[in-house]
Every structure is written in C-alpha cells, then in structure tokens.
C-alpha cells in the first residue's frame, strides 16, 4: 500500500508539473518581458506543492501508524489487558499480529482470533485513510500551486528556496546521524548502568553476560566486568599493529625513496587491493588458512595453540591494515620538502642515512598520526575478530591463547535478540558507547597530529 501511495504521489506531481507548464504558457501569452519566471519553474513549483507536503504527511503516517494501531487494539481488548505490564502486552500484540498475518502455530482462542480480525480491519482502514489523506493533500497543494501562476509570480525563487531547504536538510542528516548514534548509545547504556554499576563494568574482572533462563537458576546472574574484553581488544590491536606498522612503513620507504616510477605504478595499486577486500573475506581467510597453519606450526614445535589464537585474528587484521599505514606514511614522506632531502644528500649522506636521519624524523608526526588512525581501525574492526577470535573473555595476554574483543561481544550479544529490556542486550550498547568514544578520540587526536604537521613547511 505504501509503495502504491508513493507511486500515486509521483504521478500527481508529474501531472502537476505538466499542468503548471501549460498554465504558465497560457498566462504568459506574448508578454515575454513581463513574465518573471520561465514556465518550467511554474511547473516545478506546482510539482513541489503537490508532492512534498503529501509525502511528508505519508512518511509521518508510516512512522506512527504502528504505535497508534497497537494502542487501538489494546484498548479494544478491555481494561484487564490495559492493566498488564508492557512485556505481556507486547507478547499479546505479537500473537495477534502473527494470527492476523495467517501464521498460526497453535489454535488461537476466540478472543485472539477476533482481535486479529479487528487488527486486520484497523490496518486496512488506516491504509485507506492514508491514501485518501495523501491524495487530498496532494490535490489541495496542486490547487494552491496552480493559483500561484501569475505574470509577476517569482516561481524560480520559490523553487530555489525549496531546493535550499532540501539541501540544508541533507546537510543536517550528518549531524542527525551523529546525534542518533550518541543518543541511542547513551540511552541504552544508561539503562544498562541502572542495572549494573558503572564501577563493575569498567573495573570488573569477570565477563559472563549470560542471563538466567529461570528465575531461580544458580550462578546465572551474569557478570559484566568488561576489563577482560578491553584487554582482549588491546591484545589483538597490538598484534595487528605489530604486523602492519613495520611492513607498511618499510613498504612506504621503499616506494617513495627507492622504487622506480614504473614499479611504484604496479606495486601501489596491488597494495591497495588489500584495503578493498571486505573484512568478512579476511575473517574466512583467517579461519580457513591461517588458523590451521599456525596450529600445525605449533604442533610441530610442540607448543599448544588455541584454535582461536589471538595471533591469528591480530595477524590477519595486520595484513588488512598494511595499505592503510603504507599510504599514510607515503603521504607523510612525500610531504617532506625536496630541499631537505637534497640538502642531506649534498652533505654526503647516503640515501639510507638521509631516510633514517632526516626524512623519518621529519615525517614522524605524520607517521604517528597514521599509526593512530590505523589503531582506531583495529579497535573498531569487527568481522575478522568475530570469525577468528574467541568468545570467552579471559584475562590473558598470550597471543597463542584465545581472547575476545569489544566488537565480538557486541555482535554475539545482539545476534538474534531484539529485546531491549535485559542487561545482556543493553551491555552491547554500553560496549558500543565505549568503542565509539575510544575510536573517535583516537581519530580526533590522529587527525590533529596529521594536520598540524602538514602546516609546518
């Protein structure tokens, strides 16, 4: 139904455009000089008046229809239902909706069946009402726009003003997204902290986010001490950086200082392929190839290697980060002025000495900024660790043992679970908040360093 409404509105807007075009031409007659705007703007103006208000109403309608219908259904069921608590009401509603959609698992009671029929009727009515309201608003808008067509009417200014509003709206989406992220994370995290003390979350050493299946279950309370999770994240990020930093840095040095132009033209895109591969592919690669190889190596050397060793996830993540570090270091190295390089060479330093003693120190802030950016990526990276790292939070820093990370916990806590009222789901939002804050802080610092350094020459 919604798509039909959108389609009808689109057709009405197009019709409005055509009508406006003709109307404007008729009104203009031969008075080309007096007529303010081109006929096309009168057409567009009518199309906007026809389409936009109705579209806004329809979107609002779709947004709130669900909640309104739910309320109507609950009220129709009588006082005993309205006195139930929220969870029971939600359960009842979902049962009614299942029956209404024809998905019947067990024979519903007469009441439910009646409520389901009523639900279908209410939804159908609401849809028809929406159609009627949308079309009437579109027609009213069309009328308003149509009457505006006149010799001195500034249709172009009107259209351009609408365009401005649209552009401003689109720019504000960026702020709205950030606000949405912060508000939703904060809201859910605050609910979490209402149940679990902040101190326990940040300093607790025990992370066991299971919740009891039964009220009286022993040892099922769940523990939400996130230190092992943070530690695991740090371990994997450090391993990743230990792989990516030297390889990326040496690659950048070679590419900027030693490689011929043709070699550079081949090698750079090849390295950048590494950055373009989806991370789920790296995750599969880690599980399929790297983990068995490492385990085989461990067996051969007589060392026990966990199937989810931190080294695997970290190492593969390091491979992913190589092009990131190499291209940022590359930028930093090429930003060092030619004169500095030539000066060092003119004093008799070899190429290597110039690089080590002059270029690298000069480019150091840029490189450090790049490394920080890469670190924030490593901390926020999800799929590799979800597939290759462990699920059990343990306090260890041994790269051959399994650790878990913030992103792994977020994903595992939320897959297949949408209820927002238990600590398990809410914990994921608390972790998400921490992740957001840490990565954002790292990014801000890194970008500051990179920028400040660039201004120095």
């Amino acid at each position: 139904m919604a798509s039909t409404v959108f389609f009808i509105l689109l057709i009405l807007a197009v019709l409005g455009y055509v009508a406006g075009l003709f109307r404007a031409k008729v009104v203009r007659g031969t008075a080309y000089r007096e007529f303010h705007s081109l006929p096309i703007y009168h057409g567009l103006n009518i199309a906007i008046w026809t389409g936009v208000p109705a579209l806004i109403i329809v979107l609002m309608w779709l947004l709130f229809q669900g909640a309104a219908v739910d309320r109507i259904i609950l009220n129709s069921l009588g006082t005993e239902v309205t006195s139930l608590d929220a969870a029971q009401q939600a359960l009842l509603l979902s049962e009614i909706k299942q029956v209404a959609a024809g998905r019947i698992f067990r024979e519903p009671t007469g009441e439910i069946r009646a409520a389901a029929d009523f639900y279908n009727a209410v939804v159908a009515n609401a849809q028809w009402a929406m159609l009627v309201v949308a079309i009437s608003i579109a027609l009213i808008g069309f009328g308003v726009g149509y009457r505006m067509v006149a010799v001195r009417f500034r249709a172009r200014h009107s259209v351009e003003r609408s365009l401005n509003y649209f552009m401003i709206f689109c720019s504000v989406v960026a702020i709205a997204t950030t606000a949405g992220i912060i508000v939703s994370l904060l809201y859910e995290a605050l609910q979490f902290f209402a149940r679990v003390p902040v101190a326990e979350f940040f300093f607790g050493l025990n992370w066991e986010p299971q919740i009891p299946m039964r009220e009286d279950q022993v040892a099922g309370a769940g523990a939400f001490g996130a230190v092992p999770v943070f530690l695991g994240t740090l371990v994997i990020a450090v391993i990743a950086m230990a792989v990516a930093t030297p390889i990326g840095l040496f690659s950048a040095v070679y590419l900027t200082e030693f490689a011929s132009n043709s070699a550079r033209a081949i090698i750079k895109p090849l390295l950048e392929i590494l950055a373009g591969i989806p991370t789920v592919v790296y995750g599969f690669f880690a599980v399929l190839t790297v983990a068995p190889a490492l385990r085989g190596l461990g067996d051969w050397m007589g060392i026990g290697v966990s199937p989810n060793a931190a080294l695997v996830a970290g190492g593969v993540m390091g491979i992913m980060l190589i092009p990131f570090i190499s291209s940022l270091s590359d930028d930093a190295l090429t930003a060092v002025p030619r004169a500095v390089r030539d000066g060092s060479l003119a004093l008799g330093a070899t190429k290597g000495e110039t690089i080590r003693k002059v270029l690298l120190p000069a480019a150091l802030p840029g490189i450090v900024g790049g490394i920080l950016l890469a670190l924030s990526r490593a901390i926020g990276e999800t799929m590799i660790v979800v597939m290759a790292a462990g699920l059990i939070a343990s306090l260890n820093v041994n790269p051959l043992q399994s650790v878990t990370t913030v992103t792994v916990q977020i994903v595992t806590l939320l897959i297949g679970d949408t209820s927002f009222d238990n600590p398990k789901t809410l914990a994921a939002f608390a972790l998400g908040l921490v992740l957001f804050v840490i990565t954002l802080a790292l990014n801000v610092v890194a970008l500051r360093i990179v920028r400040k350094y660039r201004e120095q020459y």
Partner: protein, 432 residues
Amino acid sequence: MTIALDDSAGLRAPVDWASAEMKARRKSRYAADTRLKFYGLTAISMAIGFLLILFSSLVLTGYKAFVQTMVTVEIRLDPEQVNRDDIFNAPWRTIVQSALADLEPGLDQADRRQFLQIFTPNAQFLVRDRVIANPDMIGRTVSFTFPLADPLDQLAKGEVDRSLPEDRRRVNDKQIGWYDGLNERGLISQPFNTGLFLNADSRFPELAGLAGAISGSFWALLVCFLLSFPAGIAAAIYLEEFAPKNRITDLIEVNINNLAAVPSVVFGLLGLAVFLGLFGLPRSAPLVGGMVLALMTLPTIIIVTRASLKSVPSSIREAALGIGASKHETIIHHILPLSMPTILTGTIIGLAQALGETAPLLLIGMNAFITSPTTGVLEASTALPTQIFIWADSPERGFVARTSAAILVLLGFLLAMNAIAIFLRQRFERRW
C-alpha cells in the same frame, strides 16, 4: 687521494679517504643502505605474498564449487500416480525413490536406504517443481538431472580420501562402489553449477546458491544509492556553494569527517536502536540495511562531491553568472554536469565499500535463513557478505568450497564496480 685541509686554521687533520679504515666505513655505510632497501623489498613482497596466499587459498578451495556433480535418472511419470489437476500432492517421494532404487535393483532395505543417501534429499521436490512447470511430461518417461548429495559430490571432486578407513569418512565403501557403478554407466556428469547463482540458500550444500544473497544485496544497495546519492550531492552543494561560514556549518563539516571514521558496527547499533527499536521497521529487511549503509556511504559521497565541485574552474561559474543565470542555475546547468563523472566514480567506490560491509547487517538481522530470492525491500533477506558469514559457520564440508566460491563472486562484483569507476574516471577526466 688525500684532501689536505688547512691545519693553520685549526681544522682537523687530513682524512685519507683511500685508507683501509675509510674503505671499511664506506662499505658499511653502503651496506646499511642496501639493508634498508632489502627491508623495504621484503616488506613489499610480504604484503604482496599475503595477497597471493589469500587469493590462491580462495581459488583453490572455491573453484570446485563452480561445478556440481549431477546424476541423470529416467523417471516414469505414471498418470495413475500423478493427477494432472493436483500435481503438487502426488506421491513424489515414492515415485522418485523407486525410480532411483531401480538404478541398482535387488537391494535389501538397509542397502536401499544407504543407496538413496547418495542423492540429494530434495530430489523429489526438484522433480515435482519441474513437472508443475511443464505438465506435459505426465504420462511419459522423462530423464531428470539432479545433484548428488554433498559427500558424494566431495568424492567425485576428489576431496574424499578413498584410502582412509571406512569409519573415518562420510561415504562408506558400498556407496563408493555404487557411485563408481553409476559413473561407469555414464549417468554422472559435472556441469557448470548454475544452481550456485539460481538457487537461494539451503541446508544442503549441493542445493545452496547465492540468488537470495545477490537479490538481497541488490535491494539494499538500491536503497543505499537512492538515499545517499541525492542526499550526498545536495549536502555537498550546500556546504560548498551556499553555506555561510558559521559555527553550525563548521560543526556539520567536522561531523561529516568524523562519521567517516566511526566503526561500522556502531552504525549497526544505531540501526538496531533507531530504525528497528524506535521506528519499528521490520527486522532483516533490505530497507533497513540500505538505510544504515546509506548513512555510512553519505560522508564518502559528500567529501568526493565537494572536492569535485571545487575543481571546476571559477571562469565557468563567473561566465554563467555574468550572463544572468541564478546561482542555482549555474550549479545545476554547468557546475554539476561537469563534476558528475568524478561524483559518480566516488559514489561507485562508496557503494563497493557498502557491498562488502557485514557487521551492521548482522546487527539488524540480515543474516536470516532465506530460501527464496528477495523481491522487495521489506522482505526478510540476506546479503552477499552475510551469506558468506553464514556459510563460513556451517559445518558441512561442501560449504567450505561454496563459501570460497561466494567470496569469489563478491570479489567479482567489487572488481566490476571498481573497473567501472576507473573507466569513468579515465573516460571523462578533465584537466582544466
């Protein structure tokens, strides 16, 4: 050669550059140079080596999933058993199983059951669907071709070690014998696996395909494009051409740069809390997936568009304004068309990133088990990367190869998108 320095000026003694000491020193300095060069080369070859290992391991495990071992069976569609008016409810199980059992007559009950395990358990439904599509088959003997079960598929592809003891592999000696018999009679074939592209997901590896995931990704990307492309361009035009320089527009700018750096899983949390929790949109729907991906793609498009608007020379702008065009007209008629190739290139690259994005889709539930291709934006569906994630978790051996094959398909799409972007860039690139 010796260079004599003027001693009377208090400078140091002449340096004998030809001395053995100096030679050694020079040698070690150049050696350090060579070492540095060598480290660089090693680093690069390691990075490229990783790339090669990654691709070769994917290709080596995945190429076999592009063919499928099939068996051809003659089935007599007896009009007494298959009623033309009610084809759906005919006793398909009996019909197909007896036709299959006739391939190897005279087996006892236990052997018959083991023999039937050679074939895909869904054979009856495949036959049924084909007869429904073409009822004229009834009354004739038709030869049907359908997949073997996964263990036999693995056997045919040489993945099963016949020399292992019987209890350590998933096909027993009898089944291998029957398979070899069928093979000698020419009933086994290994055609290109069209099912990989035409089937949706299935619990049975021999039937699982990517149609559901590809259609889900298509719808999500379509939503993502329809939202982020116009919004990105509009925002960029506003910020670049119209926005006053004040604190609010500064805030917007900083925000856009920050959004590009937010981990993708956080966008998933946003989608879960706002689109699913607050607005009550359906779970697993490409609409929600596309909206989340659009929010992630938006910064990329805005940044690219602004850069490309900036690169249009001001002479064009001034000429248009000079002959009386309004600011909007100048942008819509002149600046935007000139910068469109770059914008499109950036958009395609942004969409390619969105195509490979997995974590936010997992959080909003686009990892559902869906057995038919998606036909709309509100249906439950999966996407290519989440399908890869699901298959990578499946224990059946056949799914390992299928996962690699799915990855190759995904990489193929990415490659195609990047190729289009490069083509656009080279075809339309302008130097002012």
